[in-house]
């Protein structure tokens, strides 16, 4: 994010950060009061909204089209004295103490050390085709679609084919008896604002070269479509992250999305994403990222043949029909 950070503290327990972007102020709006848990937080907001607005197909806010990320305050939260100067593709900065619990702060410091050495952490779990998961889902670039229906909202991220479902006016359920990449999300509408509660998440991270999260991570979000002074639309989400294992206290974050004008103008459409048959990057013995190349036994030919090459029409490169040498 091309921004100037102004740090401020509200009360004793909330880390609240303002980020001023060159284009438009990206401001963290903290919750109206402190909460011990995300469940208390969500219940309070639901009560304040008198159970929420029951939208119909005619009244439900429409956030149609393709969207892309447009800033966040992750660096403001986790780094101090950082600048736009980059080491490789990572901004320079030092770890902010007192935000993460000690083991998670140590893990983050190691990621930062690797970034200082090489420009990035040595290895990213997405390399072996893990999905981004939550909260990384909020930050990953590429293409988004937001589909609001009266009984559900769908938040689609082309990376990893992540389909986040928000169940409107419902309670949490966990019939799988485990946690998942995007967890279980319920929500309600307060006018044009969508308020969500997410639980039952697998441990992930905020982004590459950013901190890790635990399997106790939960969140409360407030989504709202805003119009900038120049008339452009931005979809903004104010988030409070709760995680007693990784966070010293809850943190407030903001993420923003903008219409993906370039992609819509060229008629780009989201295609099914997978990397099992197309990714040749892997975790090498030295703990770093390495690549299989054509000719390697482990090389995966994304445009090669299926498991049935003897049959006609089994090439995955049907337009150009290229072949790589064995």
């Amino acid at each position: 994010m091309n921004s100037r950070a102004i740090i401020a503290t509200f009360g004793c327990c909330w880390l609240t950060v303002y980020s001023v972007t060159l284009a438009q102020e990206l401001l963290v709006v903290p919750p109206p009061m402190e909460f011990e848990t995300s469940t208390e937080h969500y219940a309070y907001l639901l009560e304040q909204a008198d159970g929420g607005t029951q939208h119909t197909m005619e009244t439900i806010p429409q956030w149609s089209g393709l969207w892309e990320t447009d800033g966040n305050n992750n660096n403001d939260i986790f780094l101090e004295e950082y600048t736009d100067e980059r080491i490789g593709s990572t901004v320079r900065g030092s770890v902010r103490s007192g935000v993460l619990t000690l083991p998670y702060e140590e893990a983050f410091r190691e990621r930062r050390r690797q970034a200082e050495e090489t420009g990035q952490q040595y290895y990213d779990r997405l390399t072996h085709c893990e999905p981004p998961g939550y909260p990384r889902h909020l930050r990953e670039p590429y293409v988004r679609e937001f589909i609001n229906l009266p009984h559900q909202s769908w938040q689609l991220n082309d990376l990893g084919n992540e389909n986040r479902r928000i169940y409107i006016g419902q309670e949490h359920v966990n019939v799988y008896a485990t946690h998942s990449w995007l967890g279980d999300t319920i929500g309600f509408w307060e006018g044009d604002k969508l308020i969500t509660h997410t639980v039952d998440l697998l441990p992930t991270d905020y982004f590459r070269s950013q901190p890790l999260t635990s399997n106790q991570f939960e969140s409360v979000e407030v989504w709202e479509l805003k119009t900038l002074e120049n008339g452009e639309e931005r979809l903004e989400v104010q988030v409070t992250f709760y995680d007693e294992l990784s966070l010293v206290k809850p943190i407030n974050a903001v993420y923003r999305f903008k219409p993906s004008t370039e992609l819509m103008e060229i008629g780009a459409r989201i295609r099914h994403f997978e990397c099992e048959t197309s990714s040749n990057s892997y975790l090498s013995e030295d703990g770093r990222t390495q690549f299989h190349l054509p000719g390697d036994p482990e090389y995966k030919d994304a445009r090669g043949y299926t498991m049935f090459p003897e049959l006609p029409g089994q090439s995955r490169d049907p337009i150009y029909n290229t072949q790589l040498p064995e």
Binding site: T118, Y122, D158, I266
Partner: protein, 159 residues
Amino acid sequence: MKNIDVWGLLLTGAGLVSAESLPAHHSFVQFDQSTELIMSGEVVRWAFNAPHSWLYLDVEDNDGDVTLWSFEGSGPVSLLRRSINGNTFEPGDRLTFMYCPIRDGRPAGHLGWVRLEDGTYIDPSDGGCAGDEETIERWKGWLEQGFASNRDAMAAESH
């Protein structure tokens, strides 16, 4: 090879970098980003696939031996924003390009910029090598002086 708007490519490429730290699904530590080299070759395949595009070219050395080289580029969606698509490179196209080599010496690297047969420059890079407008402009000057390595060019400039 398709005609594309080079100014659009440069402008949208610059915007992408400022919008978000460079996206990818893996780290780029295995590419030596401090080394930029020039190479020419004939396209064997342009794999415009997620999560990363790969450009495969036959490259002939001074002895006439041909080797298949593999070069990683950015993901399809990022490239579409730069007006680069699955038809931008076609088998048989002859390209000159800049890349950052893989550290273990195999015939591979990460794409910086690519100069098409009509002389336009495009930026298919991701976080493993710089292909932005500033890099292209710097290299145009070095190419005119006959350099094929940034280290050689910088060494000459320092004298």
